[in-house]
Symmetry: C2
Subunit: 373 residues, 2 copies
Amino acid sequence: MRITTPTLLLDKEKAKNNIRRMAAKAIRNSVRLRPHFKTHQSAQVGEWFREAGVEAITVSSVRMARYFANHGWKDIMIAFPVNVLEMDSINELAAQVKLHLVAVNQDTIEVLADQLQHPVHLSLKIDTGYRRTGILATNYAELDKILQRVQVLGEKLHFEGFVVHDGHTYKQSDVYAIQTINNTSVYQLHQLRERYKAKFPNLQLSIGDTPSCSIIETLSGVDEIRPGNYVFYDLTQQRIGSCSFDEIAVCMACPVVAIHPERGEIILYGGSVHFSKDVLLQEDGTAVYGRVVDFTSNGWSAPLEGIQVVSLSQEHGVVKASPEQLKKYKIGDLMGILPVHSCLTSNLMQGYMTTEGEHLEHLSGLPKRELVS
Amino acid sequence: MRITTPTLLLDKEKAKNNIRRMAAKAIRNSVRLRPHFKTHQSAQVGEWFREAGVEAITVSSVRMARYFANHGWKDIMIAFPVNVLEMDSINELAAQVKLHLVAVNQDTIEVLADQLQHPVHLSLKIDTGYRRTGILATNYAELDKILQRVQVLGEKLHFEGFVVHDGHTYKQSDVYAIQTINNTSVYQLHQLRERYKAKFPNLQLSIGDTPSCSIIETLSGVDEIRPGNYVFYDLTQQRIGSCSFDEIAVCMACPVVAIHPERGEIILYGGSVHFSKDVLLQEDGTAVYGRVVDFTSNGWSAPLEGIQVVSLSQEHGVVKASPEQLKKYKIGDLMGILPVHSCLTSNLMQGYMTTEGEHLEHLSGLPKRELVS
């Protein structure tokens, strides 16, 4: 298979190992694993999770839910505040699969009460510190009011429990900071369980971030984990401490189109329309948009020293290289680049080529029309 | 037409006015307009340029060239350093259209000499200050060597002239700074014309950035301009001074999914997979990822004060709003957002809905297989 344009390579064995490792951890900790599929968004990659015993999944949009439902997934949580404009599609999905919705306020509950045609499972999203969205864990007034209403609507809305996404772990690079965030969430979730367990004896507690799920060995105190990025990992997760470089399962292959020895720079065909613009700031304040690796007979090496992607425009990537690194490359070579954020890179690349040369699809590469119900 | 998910709206009249204004300016200045089509990447939008008299276009990839060639464009410049790995496709295109390639070094010229099967037009990319790629305008040793070689290869490579992309104008917000950058480029291009006009009496000078082409009234001293972003403009171009808010021809419509009055925030369904992550830094150091507008009977208003998009994650957009603005919105409303960078937003959205409800395609929304030659 000849690569001629920017291509996202996927090391199947690394991804499968990542999938198996998290599945084993979930079993060891007696928690249900409901992996988030927004990172890969690929029916074929989804099958590798099935092989590892996964039955329940998380997605972030109705379209993504429909896609995986069409590929045989029967237990799907849309972990995004319900978009009430999509009630028609939600109703179709609810007729088809065990659908879990996530609400963050009473207005949404009322729309669901009014417009749902089939029963769904409902979780409330709790904000335990990230402050993006969710009901504050200490906002009992709001929670009491909503849960009173939900109890009445039990026919249509099976209350499942509380979900948290600790996105602020992504800003940490210290295992103790991540453990502290997780402890805080679990503590607050337990307070909630105490308060509402009389009404809802089976209420479930679910957490979602890849750093906590990767780094913390003993995931006690919750019933479910929903990590997603761990299938591929990336430079951001390596920096946080969630993975080693060796566990990053995706790598861009980008053609070298220009070399500027006078300033130690190499220009790649590969820019923000391929990688996205997520950046990793270094301690010295410089920005890294990707780390360079060597291709090997069956994959790629660890990141090289003295060479990295330092800026991206729409189609150009600028690589800064030491004289020793620079002299290795010529026009027409392919350079391997580990991405900063594998979710966004996969979304832009719209598909994968495995290191064995197989093409795997990504939802973003499928015509939108095919999916319109 | 009912909008239920993040949708990129296109005001056809604004875009057509932007297209006509630049076409009129080119005629007034007696320069050839070869607009860059990477901003819209849409066959239908391309037709509006044709109506305004445009015959020659610029693109940034072989795939984009092939797409527009399939839609009847006969004179296409790929304004990106030749990717020598795509010689097969380049040869097919060269058989089909008047193809212009851009080179930045002699290695590429040698590959072209060796592998081209049909004549092409060749320009050298000159670096007059941006320092991304291109041959330094004062590097006569390199230029002499390359042009000597190109002269010999005249059968296959019709030397066309010099192209510049002054990307550093994007960092300015002062008409004099932009004029100075343009003067510097034109001066350096004229030095080159003087040096090589004996050998190449018809050599052409071409510049490309939207800020210079939008802001400078008298585009003297060059033969061709290649702006692209001006078809839609965006918040970045408004900040630079290239356009007014009123000339921005695209606007995102995003569902409101959560409201947090306690901290004055609204959560949108609309994140970095819809907008991209380009950011506009304010004077006070805060980041803006989009400005909010009201929808009107036939389009949208000027940006509102006291409300803006302040952060983006994969699917979430966080809007900060004053109490007066906040109270206008409820769950399930659509919010209008002017994008920071229309090229990247269009690429991610994979298509447009005109304010009249018509769907227009974007190359990124087409299956890649269809385009494989």
